[in-house]
Symmetry: C2
Subunit: 89 residues, 2 copies
């Protein structure tokens, strides 16, 4: 069964407090060269049957409307079995 | 500045309640063809200077020890500016 991966990140213009805390922790642990940590989500799921254009359209719709909150997050990538798929603007 | 992406997923043999809930929600919303949703984390950060082998080793160490919990999670991929880097076994 094909595996689809959807990556969702907090919008660049918004503060990411979780990422900021992680940046601070890395610095305290001596990893000062790592900057601007931002933390998003990675969804992996399988699809029954072949990935047709209609299925891809449904994946984009689900990514935009259900898996991400368009007010604060962007869908940054969608891949099917490792191959990138164009993300709707 | 080079951007590094670290992807962390719950181990395959563990239940992912958040993913299970999302699978159920998708089915209730009429997207029954999507199965086995699992939800992990995606870390994006930048590095000061060039990405040398020493920096990569430090990224792997940070990914394994700080960004993920090895008891319940796996580091599934590390990329530098989009190019995959071998993940330590």
């Amino acid at each position: 069964m094909p595996t689809i991966v959807v990556d969702v990140m907090p919008k660049a213009e918004l503060l990411d407090p979780q990422g900021k805390a992680t940046t601070g922790a890395l610095h305290r642990l001596g990893h000062g060269k790592f900057q601007n940590v931002r933390i998003g989500k990675r969804f992996e799921f399988t699809v029954d049957g072949e990935v047709t254009d209609a299925v891809l359209a449904e994946v984009r719709k689900v990514a935009d409307e259900t898996l991400s909150n368009a007010v604060i997050e962007d869908v940054v990538s969608i891949t099917v079995d490792g191959a990138p798929v164009e993300v709707a603007a």
